[in-house]
């Protein structure tokens, strides 16, 4: 356990040093995304009532987490595979799980500024009153971890070029065809059914449910579905990391 913790902390430092030069760029992308969703989407909609405002305001941070975990992270993994970094890290005398944990932690930390910015912009734009539940912390953690785990599983399991394409598809589906920024009942029935299984809607609900606790109480289903996706993503990733040719 001491070896694991020592490896984890050192790898965390190693990743931070290596990714430091990317951080300003990440921050810019996330700011544009957050502001873009909140401000941009309101151009699409003629009138913004309270319900729409709530969806946009909570959808923006959710999309921020999805972008970092399922788009930026897998693209970086694809690049790492092309450059040989992936193979290099496989030779290090550290537990594979510590390597993955350090990676995921780095991405989580990277997505936090965007998350805060998205919420801040939304409350300014829509004059919202959030009713934040303490469960927001585990909810954000679970959503970020699930997004990164799925992103990693895809980029570890398929060749870099395919992973890059998959990342493009994911951001497109998440942005346009997922009930993140709008209620699910606007979608056709079959797509609603698909989203019962896919993680996007559940991510949005977990974040929305804890940011605006309300009287309705918190639904456990999104958390359960996300936990399954998260476990699946991590299992596939670890399996690929430890696989020997």
């Amino acid at each position: 356990m001491r070896h694991w913790l020592r490896s984890y902390l050192l790898l965390l430092r190693w990743h931070t040093i290596r990714l430091r030069y990317l951080l300003p760029l990440m921050l810019v992308i996330q700011t544009l995304l957050a502001v873009g969703i909140v401000v941009g989407f309101s151009f699409l909609l003629p009138t913004i009532d309270d319900a729409t405002a709530l969806y946009l305001a909570t959808g923006a941070p959710t999309l921020g987490l999805i972008t970092v975990g399922m788009v930026l992270a897998p693209q970086m993994v694809a690049q790492a595979k092309t450059e040989g970094t992936f193979d290099y890290h496989r030779t290090l005398p550290v537990p594979r799980s510590a390597l993955l944990a350090a990676d995921v932690t780095t991405w989580f930390a990277t997505s936090l500024p965007g998350l805060a910015l998205a919420l801040f912009t939304a409350t300014l734009r829509f004059d919202l009153d959030l009713d934040v539940s303490p469960l927001v912390v585990p909810a954000i953690l679970l959503v970020a971890l699930t997004a990164t785990a799925i992103g990693y599983a895809i980029s570890y399991a398929v060749p870099p070029a395919v992973a890059n394409l998959a990342a493009q598809v994911i951001v497109f589906v998440a942005l346009m065809f997922s009930p993140i920024n709008f209620p699910a009942d606007r979608l056709p029935g079959w797509l609603q059914a698909v989203h019962q299984v896919l993680p996007f809607q559940h991510m949005a609900e977990a974040i929305r449910g804890t940011l605006v606790a309300g009287a309705a109480g918190l639904d456990a289903v999104p958390f359960a579905v996300l936990a399954v996706w998260c476990a699946l993503g991590l299992t596939v990733t670890l399996r690929v990391m430890t696989r020997r040719s």
């Binding site: 040093i17 040989g84 496989r90 005398p93 550290v94």
Partner: protein, 314 residues
Amino acid sequence: MLLRVDNLTKIYGRGARANDDLSLQVGEGEVLGLLGHNGAGKTTLLNQVAGLARPTSGTIVLDGRDPVADPAYARRVCALQLQAQAPLTGVTPRQAIDMLGRIRGGRRQRVRERTGQLLAALDITEWADTPGEKLSGGVRRLTAFCMAVVEPGRLVMLDEPTNDVDPVRRRLIWQQVRQLAADGCAVVVVTHNVTEAERSVDRVVVLDHGRVATTGTPVELRRRASGDLRLELTLTPGVAAPEPPSWATRTTVRGQHMVISVASAGAPQAIAWAQHLHASESVAQFVLNPISLEEIYVGLTGTSEEDHDAALAA
């Protein structure tokens, strides 16, 4: 023996036989040079020892334990420098070497000192604090070498460590390799630079199509070759090549160039014969050299390449 490989065979999914019944040993304090063509199975062998690939059959014993059954153990004992460049984007050599030393289990103070020593020993202190993306290929390779040996473990495996490196610093790398052995590590160096290896390795294993073509010290290999001296004659243009003398073990003529293998006992005879030809102006110049490891290597793998082609054609 720190590393013992017995009858190792590795067949990849597509049926390619990368290692074929391969056996070798490396002891503590020993530097083993691993030579062979591209695709001869050198990197595959390293990957199996380091616990990154699984052998199809055969056994590996690393410091008394099985790296195949316990790959995490293998990674702790081995320091491996991959053939591909190390990830240095955004990181300076000093940071990278220092971090890798710590990740490999070194204590902070000791690693810091060792990092400084290595940077100085390889004469790259000048670039110690330059980000990786601004470094030349050679300095990146030298940094990768330091990242592997900063905390070397018991077995150091280097896959073409002198690629892209200038001739002066190549010598510095080989000095460090010798130092690692002097400190008690077993060292395996994969290289295409046979001339360099000849000066610095204790023993050589030549791989050919996944098999051990030959093994021994450079001196042993030379002794086994057909005569350990080479007499090279440059013929005078327009003059026919002289008849090969009876003491020549092997003679080849290519254009104006005649090469004769000579046993060392025959050296006086060979010189007298060449001097006579030189005096009669049928040769423009001559030189007598010990046969190089490179010639033995080319002889070994070249012949088998021809056999292989012949077998394919048949």
